[in-house]
Subunit: 346 residues, 4 copies
């Protein structure tokens, strides 16, 4: 079977593995206070064009989201997020477990708009019984979104504007940021993101690392005592060096973006095959996730050779599914899938 | 100004006050282990037709909801509720603060259906990544709902059926239960509710008491150590006797239902005035809350004499508002309001 | 049986009951935004000599402690308290349930010293792995303490000094403050307390009210959004007026202190009887709780007529017990108990 | 500088690294549902002699402790632990953050006794106001303890007995289990532990893995929905295979114990050097942590070449420090340290 069900079906990019091997017996302090983490922090600050940023390395995405949100909010405050947002639907209640409500905003493509945020905020403060309601204090966006879509520069600027005006924190979940920043049509880069968001993370798990997410904190108000919260949430890795080493390997020479771009291009092949076969998309995007709508019969046939994700039922005879590519995807496998989708494989 | 903005604008029914006064200097043990609480528990068990029920007295509704839910659920479990449900929108995140997600279900009239619950439950267990999602474990309904509507006997039986089949707890918030059980068209009584729900509460604060909610636990699995959780949530009143005394006064001879019926009838006068003036309702009901849609101009005029609640904007020139009656509402005030609504007052 | 087991065995002082009765049918807004609460706040601000204080009314002590602490601390922060402190031992884990560790400090008499706080704080910040430990951020003291003892003015000033120097909040639990401020040897008053503490509460439940605790916030940093947290914790009483009315009745003319003084004097009669009979005290104090050590045989005999609290075993034949007086204690009962203790009753 | 400050200053045992490399590009499902995890689970069940055990793989120790405890306890329940226990002092309040109090028990050597547990439990249930106190429900022990000491078989049997009698869960933190089970004088093995504990974990991070802890659940009552809780706490590693692979490498042929034994023997060399130099131990043990008491002057001298942990001040001129060995410790470095301690190095 060939796996297209997620972007974490393999280990790590060979360069990452080499780096881990090379340094395996070097002695360092634990908990992210080693030279590799220091160096990775410098690289990230440089790429973001801001040497005052705080950078912390955590292991996984849910852990990162719950740690950032728990560190930022007071008990009565909640986080606005697209109803499709990872924090709203796929973290088993991690945010609520830390005491905070996710205030879901309708979204067809995974994105939310500055206007939706403004309305939610105004709706709250203009409510006579606002003290009986959760106070919106943070806006959570993911880029690419869970639907693979991207925020334009203008959209992000507007979101940042409405957040600053209303005292909300803007937080970007960058679990797949490498795919996003190297995608066709992308208008963002790390400098822009670090300038507009209060806090965001650069995802490693899905983009070449064994695991790891780098949290970047721009807002000074969110920096204090972050490591205590990491420790409390079980997010302070004993051998923190493993995280620094991986981010160093991925970011020091642009590998993170190179492998992102390649994965997007392989996804394009799948998209093209769908188009040529007349299969529509649940949502269009240019990143490494393809959300295709196909006849159930066709899907049954593809299931014999490929593993992919069921997304949702469309009608009695059609479903939406997800195919993912990644840094590790083999071109031949994509070609085979594309052929099987377009019918050339038969 | 005359207050119709809520059903808790006065103190307590005179009989309740008398009872508190009479017993004021009697010495009792604290924390609900006094003879008045014992007696009130017996009365409630008798009215519910089940002498194995556990009965606990708490102070307020939000406190009751968070205590019941916290006692019932494990960390990864959530509570299904109408999107208009009190636990979802008006408790400042109390449920999330206890670690649990409120899984909101669309509802136009404040009610949810057995089918919606079934779909939510099946949607969860049939999801490939169900362990990444909050597990639905409890169904929260309010009766009357926040929109003043009532569950029919058949609706409640269906809900109880789907809950039992799927291992979900059914919990009824009865903040206004006295108004519900005495309303025109009501099909429920305490026996039925105690037979169908795993746990529910009989609201005192809004129906004649100074404060107080009586939690009735039918499901043996929910009984263990409930008092510990009450204490932990600050819900174990030192002078618990005050709660027992009030429920005894309200329930021993049916006062709770008599005053509920009267309030509903006064609300009918307001409803009739609206009808006669051609004002539609946001939601129709037969209980003590009237949700009327009126021209803003008319509302401005009413605001000069009456206090009521703004509910929501309907269009550029109309809004929905809420008028509440209660056990304490004065008939003359209702007549005046009715006249002013229908225009006879001018 | 005559109850000396706690200071909440009766209802409320008659003046409080009168005030509730008189105003019972007056209409007001809910949630503490009524004229009675406004007036009670003014009285408290005047008594504290500071018109910038925020004053909130809650129902009970555990609820108050968990609300104040939850509102003040970030997730990794804990509260230093005497190991005998109410928050540490008698709140069923309420503080932990809000996510915070109680950092217990040894104490024989219920008090903690500035030096103990300084050592705990320094021990934390000088620890190499401080980020792996709970950060002390608040100091909880009770006055009178759970052992009935009082802080001197100098002790409180030193505590406040060490707190300010180290950025810790000083919080005083005044569940029995009325007994403390009217006790023989007391050196404190509300002005001093409001000047030295960041936040404290004036206890009503045990000193003349049916229920109620008035939180006074002096530190501006602790004021923001406190009402949201109250609502979230189920601590925003719907008929908040009941709290304002009671504190107004108790504080407008010094009743709170008059009844405190009388209870302390009745406790003195019990203390004198113990002394004359040669029974030592577990801890000496001048407030309304008497902690006497007596032969078990004697206690068995007293149990036939009186209800009191078992405190702890002293040796094979002696135990420490607690007798409480209150605003409601009847002089004749105290005389009878004193006689029975001293042996005159036989 | 040579590091003896912890047992996680290097990466992973070469065999572990080889295994990760070999399998790096194999495609598997995520979240621990891959063949490597399946195989590692089988190995652990076999070593424990019980094929009904549930086995889950998590990343780190604090994460494991908070997940296990959160999954096992209801809100009002707490965990009994030695005051030196990791959950009590070095997890930044992780357990409290999940809502549970750690009930600390005095301990000089890191161990607690069955009698202490029995007394704590009886003290609770015999307290008149037990519902106002946290209910002890779990006993947390570490083996080796934080002081490097070991439970004898008899001690563990007694603890298990008192737990079963009183309905408490027995949980063993095995962060350094490999060092414990291979230590001189050790009386335990995995079969015994799995038979006596309700749940325990086999630590990988400190014994040869890059990271990873294997939770073994024996008590059926603790098995339900554990993966949901893992996900909620951010403890369900996306590439779960990394954990399965590492435990397979360590456990399939006893490597875990071989490297443990070697580290203990290297620690013996340090112990012998201390003895020969007349330096006493804070606590005596036979595992990989040496707690030596030395003159501050001597420590200053050692600090020039070695990194080690300050443990506590003993008197004006002496301190206790900790030296750790591990699977990665180089014999020459130990010899050098031993010589420098005993003075031969000078």
């Amino acid at each position: 079977m060939i796996f297209f069900n997620s972007d974490y079906t393999e280990g790590a990019h060979p360069k990452v593995m080499d780096r881990l091997l090379e340094t395996n017996l070097v002695q360092t302090d634990g908990y992210g206070e080693d030279p590799y983490c220091m160096r990775a922090r410098e690289i990230i600050r440089r790429l973001c064009g801001n040497d005052t940023l705080d950078v912390h390395f955590l292991v996984g995405g849910t852990q990162t989201n719950l740690t950032v949100i728990s560190a930022a909010l007071r008990p009565h405050q909640g986080v606005l997020a697209a109803e499709t947002g990872h924090v709203n639907v796929h973290e088993a209640g991690a945010i609520e477990s830390c005491g905070h409500k996710v205030l879901a905003i309708p979204s067809a493509d995974g994105k939310i708009t500055a206007q939706q945020v403004e309305e939610a905020y105004k709706g709250h403060i203009e409510d006579d019984s606002f003290e009986h309601c959760v106070q919106p204090k943070m806006v959570y966006i993911s880029n690419p979104t869970e639907m693979g879509t991207l925020y334009t520069r203008a959209e992000l600027e507007l979101l940042a504007g409405v957040c600053r005006k209303n005292g909300l924190y803007l937080y970007m979940d960058g679990a797949r940021l490498g795919y996003g920043l190297s995608a066709a049509g992308n208008e963002l880069d790390l400098k822009t993101i670090a300038g507009l968001c209060d806090v965001f993370y650069i995802g490693g798990t899905k983009v070449g690392a064994l695991f790891g997410e780098a949290v970047v904190i721009a807002n000074p108000g969110l920096k204090e005592d972050f490591r205590y919260i990491m420790k409390q949430k079980g997010a302070l890795l004993a051998k923190g060096r493993l995280l620094g080493l991986q981010f160093q390997a991925l970011l020091e020479d642009g590998l993170y973006f190179t492998i992102g771009k390649r994965a997007n291009e392989l996804a394009d092949e799948i998209r093209n095959a769908c188009r040529s076969a007349g299969y529509p998309f649940l949502v269009e995007n240019t990143t490494n996730q393809v959300f295709a709508v196909m006849p159930d019969e066709k899907l049954e046939q593809l299931k014999e050779k490929y593993v992919f994700c069921y997304q949702q039922r469309i009608d009695d005879t059609h479903s939406a599914v997800r195919f993912c590519t990644s840094w590790a995807t083999i071109s031949e496998n994509v070609r085979a899938l594309a052929d099987d989708i377009s019918g050339k494989g038969e």
